[in-house]
């Protein structure tokens, strides 16, 4: 179970990235495969989420080694970054119609689900995760945002300064440990 966090400036330049390995057990969502449902209604959108994430994340619990995009240190990092980059297309689209800061799961690539958080200053926080954990991610994002605001209070910090603060780093880690 790994998580990848990226903080992007309004120009989509990443300023901080963190890979977090969660020690928590995989939350195997109990939602059954939609194919097992005897019948489902197309008019109700209740099934959308199940079809998008629930069904397949349940299967990933069965096949943890699924997909070509297993994280392997430096080699596949570009794929992870590529996924984060690709999800910006959807995020921008969602931002146009949704003014909320926490955009929940906006996109999905193979086993990776991308959750996003948009600050009022148009900074984007992206989180690539495998399991569904809406509330945990929301609180994680909120904590990162608070830490980020504190970092930005530094008058020498511009929009493109990489966030190298060790305090920020350690606190984000702690928060990730807590929430994810």
């Amino acid at each position: 179970m790994s998580h990848h966090l990226f903080l992007l400036s309004p120009t989509d330049t990443p300023l901080y990235s963190l890979t977090h390995y969660s020690s928590k057990p995989t939350q195997s969502t109990a939602s059954p495969l939609s194919s097992n449902l005897p019948s489902w209604s197309t008019s109700a959108f209740a099934g959308t989420l199940t079809a998008l994430s629930g069904a397949s994340s349940a299967t990933q619990a069965h096949h943890p080694q699924a997909g070509a995009v297993r994280l392997g240190g430096g080699q596949d990092r570009h794929v992870i970054q590529m996924i984060a980059n690709a999800s910006l297309d959807v995020i921008e689209e969602v931002m146009r119609r949704d003014s909320a800061m926490y955009l929940k799961s906006v996109d999905k690539f193979n086993e990776w689900t991308v959750s996003a958080f948009i600050t009022p200053g148009n900074f984007k926080f992206l989180l690539l995760h495998e399991a569904k954990n809406d509330e945990g991610i929301r609180s994680f994002f909120n904590e990162v945002w608070e830490l980020y605001v504190k970092t930005m209070l530094n008058p020498f910090h511009t929009m493109h300064t990489p966030i190298r603060s060790p305090v920020f780093d350690s606190r984000v880690r702690a928060s990730a440990k807590k929430c994810l």
Binding site: T11, D12, P14, Y21, S34, A68, G73, P162, I163
Partner: protein
């Protein structure tokens, strides 16, 4: 609605007799199925829906295939066949990819129309599948055409044979089809037309109305070919065991066998194909090769034959197939709708209850007379029951409802089709795959598609091949059957369907699905997602070995990533961030990740140069993103890992090395190497510097600069000879350039053949300097990860020149020659508005080295060149060695030392004067200025014979160094020298580190003396705080302009002072009558007055002053007149005074201190303590300064008052006002404005009296001694005696005094005068009487300078006994009687 895909059309199987086959072959025609296929689709076909409305189809496709092929395909295991299909698709793609990529890059058509040759290929391969499937009925034959020709020996028997031939289709294939008889009647048939007609009639009579006679001319020389649509590619038959033994017959309409993956790159380049006709040309080409004639996609048929054929196909469709399907639809719909309606359901249930037959059993086909259909009907009726029970799988034909839905779909009865598909879907019997094609676009379609894929198989890493094929067919149908705009709309997001279809299978088709998704995404302007999918596609394709297409996808991913979308950001954001929108870097690892894969592919495909360029590009570093280090868990403990980034660097570098070595081994052309530039630079130009041999001395740069400034300001007044820049190298002298190399990579690298490239500057032009420069070449260095190292390179120049060092040259990894510029960017220009608005920089700054003729070179060294450890105040003799290494003699040599450095150059005459006889006191004269010491001219005439240092000659000069501050520092000496007076000066430097350890802590205090002969008593305390055991005090000398000192006790205390021991000395100080202070005081008053009045300070030095020196010494005292001693005493006083003044008057600039303050204030008394360590022959002296004797009278009062009362000039700056206040305060508090009561009163106490009080009281005299300590002003005093009313501090001890007689005394004291007042005290009883109760009023007199003789009082003071005064008279009672 878009037209239905090709694969959703009626499937017709052809069974032709052998005579017909041979007939067609002899006429150079393909098999019948192929010929008939050329006539599909048919234009303008009308069908009728169940509601009897006419649906018109602009084109109606039909699929024809050979029954034998279908039968064979059905026999093959489904999974094997599917995996064969996937391999076959992969092989076709691999074979053609190189050509496609070439064409695609030339035409760039795919991006606009959403079609690419590889997608078309994949689509056609998927669509061309004609094998009946177990789970859907599209490929199940609707009709079987039994074709014979009249050339058969017995055509009727041939027809009978065909009809009697059982179909070898498996039981799960729907047997609900029509049998159609076709009789081909060629012109050269042995049967006449009439006979043929009779035959046709007989056949019709026997086998029903589904028959047709087709007269064809088939001329014997085949007519010119007529172009026809290309057939869909079909999977070739599996190789049979026999065919493996014998050479296989040349396949006509099949793809070539799977090529070897390794050979595909080269084997394709010779083929000539165009995009439009490339589809399945390979088969045609093989045909071409076989026949030797151009075939293409053409039929060699006569015009008339074509018309006949077209008529037949149309008739077959309109008269047979469509009516059959319509009828089936209507009948099945009856049963379908009856089961859906409640009454009929009730009905059916009653019927079921009462055991009657199912509604479908009542179905009777329209052509009851045909035995084939009736037999089929009975079979289909059973199948509909069992098929409904166990779904689409198993050994039963697809359910009737499914066939109903399929037929309705084909016939265009959308309403019916949708309702049947929906009900099928709800029953979990499929339909989700077709519904997206039929329904209006809505988000539900995406769910249908997802559901269709999920029902096929749960998402797993490696689904079975038949599932993959099925998913592929679904995906292809969706892309074909849905309008492109709808497909791309945000409601459907069809490109995602493709991605989920591709799943995680690592097959070429899934890569192409991803690539197509990427193409569609890029059409939607979702470039970043497109880049990702292209990358995924490339990753999968690479594993399949399709390199040309992989590279194309990688390049697409790269270009899409780099271009990125347009950001909707304000332009002023970029301005405020001081960045250019083009400078976007994005994620740091993406570009290298893509480029690395691309580079490796280029290398494996033989493009070594491209690979090297790609690998070089990887080495650049971006630092926009901070990557939090990943903790690595080892043994349960989390450690910070640092390995990750270096791993990539190491891999990139290794790949580069391998590629470059290969390049050198195979090609190694120099011209190509010049194009490769390292994306980063190893040199740090800011740290590059020239190092000359003369600069190999310590000392801070600022110190040397201040020495040079000191020299220049000194020499300014003497002449205009400048000081030549010391940073010049000499001809043929080795000097060094230090270049700093920094390795930006996270991996160790080696650089070889490092050297610098320099150019000669000649009147602003740069010329190559190779002929005059000898630069060192360092063979090889290894730089660790992120290491910085300074590399010295020796240079030698053969003639005077100005060298500009422009570049450093080296070989990266001993392979790639590279040059780095070592130019610093010029400063930012701010002069004009334009420069301020946009960034403008001055021209680049290069490192320059001036090389001059070695005419004037001097080498200076300390003879003993080591660290210097000195005791505090020690006079250390050091030898300096001067050596003229130039070609011309040196006639003038100056030494420049720091302001605080106390140095004395020993010359021959100075040494002589030191042996003067000395006396106990002497008078020396001082300039009294603490102007800094000037550079010292070393007297060459006394040191050398020719008063010059000739070339190659050396001299030795002894310097005495005295340091009083305990510290660690460096002695930096600058020497300026020249040959003659008209030449500029050159300079040489020498420095030496020294350390000063403390010896004595000395402290001098003064207090009014009780002795009437002296004014003050000086108490000198000297403590040995050093670690030197045998430290001896040899002499103590006091210096003062106005005071003379004499020791109180004998000189016994002089001698050894052991560690931590203290020696005390007392001196009586008195006025030195010869001392003159007036001039000095006037000078200071005037200057300070100037400052207070804000007048400019005149550059006048204080008047000289004479100092009286009193010595105490054990033996012969050392004379202070000895020049070196005098110099050091003066210097240490100067250092003390300069520091004290600078601290006290921070607002008066230090440069004007010498013109304001004198070195010695008249009241000063300095003590110089001489010491020696006899065992080590060391000696020295320390000074104790800061003692001021005598009373002052606020000499500056008037000036200060004047300055205060001056009308305040309003300044707009508060700082200015505050500063003036502080200057004023500093002057008011300075020693020059000291003010105190000059009269000191002393009561002589301690009398011990005896008196017989029996005789009455006793009157005793009490002596008051009053002394005027002022040296300038007389004072009047009034001494009043009275009862002491103040409460005594300790009332019990002392009795209050009772004065009697005269109680007030008046008097006047001249400066330094002493007066004694004798009062009387009445003692009435024995006891101790406190000597209190007195009061002295003092008035300091001043003679007014304006009116002669008029005196006025300057200050008034009132003083009494101190509170703690314990002086008393003790009287005891004695009985005299």
């Amino acid at each position: 609605m878009a037209p239905l895909p090709y694969s959703l059309s009626p499937h017709v199987c052809i069974l032709s007799s052998p005579d017909l086959e041979s007939l067609l072959v002899s006429s150079s025609l393909p098999p019948l199925s192929q010929i008939l296929q050329s006539f599909s689709p048919l234009p303008n076909v009308n069908t009728r829906s169940t509601a009897l409305t006419t649906v018109s189809h602009a084109s109606f496709p039909l699929r024809f295939s050979d029954l034998a092929e279908v039968e064979a395909a059905c026999k093959e295991d489904e999974e094997i066949r599917a995996s064969r299909t996937l391999d076959w698709i992969g092989a076709r793609i691999a074979k053609r990819s190189a050509k496609w990529v070439e064409d695609e890059e030339r035409i760039k058509a795919g991006e606009s129309v959403g079609r690419t040759p590889w997608w078309d290929e994949l689509r056609r391969c998927a669509e061309g599948d004609h094998t009946p499937s177990r789970i859907e009925g599209w490929n199940h034959p609707v009709a079987v055409v039994l074709a014979v020709s009249t050339t058969a020996p017995n055509p009727l028997q041939a027809v009978t044979a065909l009809h009697s031939r059982p179909l070898e289709l498996p039981p799960w294939v729907d047997s609900n089809y029509i049998k159609y008889t076709l009789i081909v009647h060629p012109e050269n048939s042995p049967l006449s037309d009439e006979e043929a007609g009779a035959l046709f009639n007989a056949v019709k009579k026997q086998y029903g109305l589904h028959a047709h006679i087709l007269p064809l001319s088939l001329p014997s020389p085949p007519p010119p070919p007529v172009p026809v649509p290309a057939p869909y590619p079909r999977l070739p038959a599996p190789p049979s065991p026999e065919s493996l033994l014998s050479p296989p017959p040349p396949p006509i309409f099949s793809a070539p066998p799977t090529p070897q993956p390794g050979a595909m790159g080269s084997s394709l380049s010779t083929q000539e194909m165009s995009f439009a006709t490339s589809l399945d040309v390979v088969a045609a080409m093989q045909e071409e090769e076989r026949t030797g004639k151009p075939v293409g996609n053409s039929l060699r048929m006569h015009e008339k034959d074509i018309q006949m054929m077209a008529r037949f196909v149309r008739e077959f469709l309109i008269m047979s197939v469509i009516p059959f399907m319509e009828r089936c639809t209507i009948e099945w719909n009856e049963s379908f709708s009856s089961t859906r309606r409640l009454p009929s359901r009730l009905f059916s249930s009653t019927r079921r209850l009462f055991g009657s037959s199912t509604p479908s059993s009542s179905y009777t086909p329209g052509h009851a007379s045909t035995p084939s259909t009736s037999s089929v009907a009975s079979r289909s009726s059973t199948s509909s029951i069992t098929g409904g029970a166990n779904g689409a799988h198993g050994l039963v034909p697809p359910s009737q409802y499914r066939r109903l839905a399929e037929f309705a779909t084909i016939l265009g009865d959308i309403k019916l089709a949708v309702s049947v598909w929906e009900s099928l879907r709800k029953d979990g019997k499929g339909g989700s795959d077709i519904l997206p094609l039929l329904l209006a676009p809505s988000p539900a379609l995406a769910l249908h598609a997802q559901h269709a894929l999920n029902t096929l198989h749960p998402p797993s890493p490696d689904p079975p091949a038949h599932i993959q094929v099925r998913a592929l067919i679904y995906a292809v149908r969706w892309t074909m059957g849905i309008n492109l705009q709808d497909y791309l709309s945000s409601a459907l997001e069809g490109e995602r369907w493709l991605v989920s279809t591709a799943g995680s299978a690592e097959e070429p088709h899934s890569a192409l699905l991803l690539a197509h998704a990427a193409l569609l995404s890029s059409m939607k302007y979702a470039k970043r997602r497109a880049a990702l999918w292209y990358l995924f596609a490339a990753n999968r394709l690479e594993k399949c070995g399709v390199r040309p297409l992989t590279m194309y996808f990688l390049r697409k991913a790269h270009s899409l990533y780099v271009s990125g979308p347009q950001k909707e950001l304000s332009p002023s954001l970029w301005d405020s961030e001081d960045r250019s929108p083009a400078a976007w870097e994005g994620f740091g690892d993406i570009k290298p990740g893509i480029e690395h894969a691309l580079g490796r592919l280029l290398y494996t495909t033989g493009d070594i140069e491209g690979a090297i360029t790609a690998f070089l590009g990887l080495l650049r570093r971006s630092s926009t993103c901070y990557v939090s280090p990943q903790p690595v868990v080892t043994n349960g403990k989390a450690l910070e890992s640092t390995a990750n980034p270096s791993a990539t660097d190491r891999i990139y570098l290794e790949d580069f090395r391998v590629a470059f070595k290969h390049f050198l081994a195979t090609d190694g052309e120099e011209g190509k190497m010049a194009n490769w530039k390292l994306p980063f630079s190893f040199c740090n130009p800011r740290q590059t510097k020239i190092r000359l041999p003369s600069q190999g001395v310590g000392g801070r740069k600022t110190v040397w600069e201040s020495r040079e400034t000191q020299w220049e300001s000194f020499w300014k007044s003497k002449g205009n000879s400048r000081l030549e820049n010391s940073g010049k190298a000499a001809v043929n002298e080795t000097f060094w350039v230090d270049i700093e190399l920094h390795n930006p990579l996270d991996v160790e690298v080696n650089l070889s053949d490092i050297t610098v490239i320099a150019q000669e500057q000649r009147s602003r032009n740069l010329e190559a300097a190779d002929d005059i420069l000898e630069a060192e070449v360092i063979e090889d260095i290894i730089l660790g990860a992120q290491e910085s190292r300074s590399i010295p390179l020796a240079l030698k120049v053969t003639r005077p020149a100005t060298l500009v060092i422009t570049h450093a040259r080296y070989k990266f990894l001993s392979l790639l020659p590279a040059t780095d510029s070592i130019a610093k960017r010029g400063r930012r220009l701010q002069e004009t508005a334009l420069q301020r608005q946009s960034k403008t920089y001055a021209p680049d700054v290069f490192v320059q080295a001036d090389v001059e003729d070695a005419s004037q070179r001097l080498r200076v060294n300390f003879v003993d060149d080591g660290g210097l450890v000195m005791a505090q105040g020690e006079c250390k003799r050091m030898k300096l060695w001067f050596s003229n290494s130039g070609t011309k003699p040196i006639r003038e040599l100056w030494m420049v030392a720091g302001d605080e450095d106390e140095l004395w150059v020993e010359t021959a005459d100075a040494a002589e004067s030191s042996s003067k006889p000395s006396v106990a006191s002497e008078v020396i004269s001082s300039r009294n200025s603490f102007a800094a010491g000037e550079p010292f001219r070393i007297p060459l005439d006394t040191l050398t014979k020719s008063s010059s240092i000739e070339s190659g000659q050396s001299i030795e000069v002894t310097v005495v160094f005295h340091a009083e501050k305990p510290l660690n520092d460096e002695l930096c000496l600058l020497f300026a020298f020249r040959e003659t007076e008209d030449q500029p000066f050159h300079s040489a430097r020498v420095s030496r580190h020294y350390e000063v350890n403390t010896t004595f802590r000395a402290n001098a205090t003064s207090r009014p003396s009780w002795s009437p002969d002296y004014l003050y008593l000086i108490d000198l305390e000297v403590e040995n705080v050093s670690s030197y055991g045998d430290l001896h005090l040899s002499q103590i000398t006091t210096l003062s302009p106005t005071w003379t000192c004499s020791p109180v006790s004998a000189e016994d205390s002089l001698g050894p002072v052991h560690v931590n021991q203290t020696a005390r000395f007392y001196f009586n100080a008195d006025r030195w009558e010869e001392g003159k202070a007036e001039e000095t005081l006037q000078f200071v008053h005037k200057k300070l007055g100037d400052i207070l009045r804000s007048r400019p300070i005149e550059q006048t030095s204080p008047p000289p002053i004479r100092l009286l020196c009193n010595h105490i010494a054990k033996d012969q005292p050392r004379s202070v007149q000895d020049p070196s001693t005098h110099h050091f005493v003066h210097s240490s006083r100067r250092n003390f005074a300069a520091r004290a003044t600078a601290a006290q008057h921070p607002y008066i600039p230090a440069s004007s201190h010498p013109y304001v303050f004198p070195l010695y204030s008249p009241a000063t008394l300095d003590v110089v303590i001489f010491w020696e360590i006899p065992s080590q022959q060391r000696y020295g002296h320390i000074s104790v300064s800061g003692l001021l004797l005598g009373a002052g009278h606020a000499a500056l009062t008037e000036v200060i008052e004047e300055a205060e009362s001056e009308k305040v000039k309003r300044s707009m700056y508060a700082e200015t006002h505050r500063e003036r206040q502080q200057v004023l305060e500093a002057i008011r508090a300075s020693e020059w404005n000291a003010e105190m009561n000059p009269v000191v009163v002393r009561v002589e106490d301690g009398q011990q009296l005896q008196h017989d009080f029996a005789k009455g009281g006793y009157l005793t005299p009490v002596t008051f001694v009053l002394r005027n300590y002022s040296v300038t002003h007389p004072a009047r005093f009034v001494l009043r005696l009275k009862q002491d009313n103040t409460p005594a501090q300790s009332p019990s001890i002392l009795l209050p005094p009772q004065y009697s007689g005269r109680l007030a005394y008046r008097g006047r004291l001249e400066p330094s005068q002493l007066a004694t007042v004798r009062a009387k005290m009445w003692l009435s009883r024995p006891g101790a009487y406190a000597l209190r109760g007195w009061q002295v009023e003092t008035e300091v007199e001043e003679v007014d300078s304006d009116e002669k003789g008029r005196k006025r009082t300057r200050h008034r003071y009132l003083q009494g006994p101190a509170l703690a005064d314990r002086s008393c008279i003790v009287i005891t009672n004695v009985n005299s009687g």
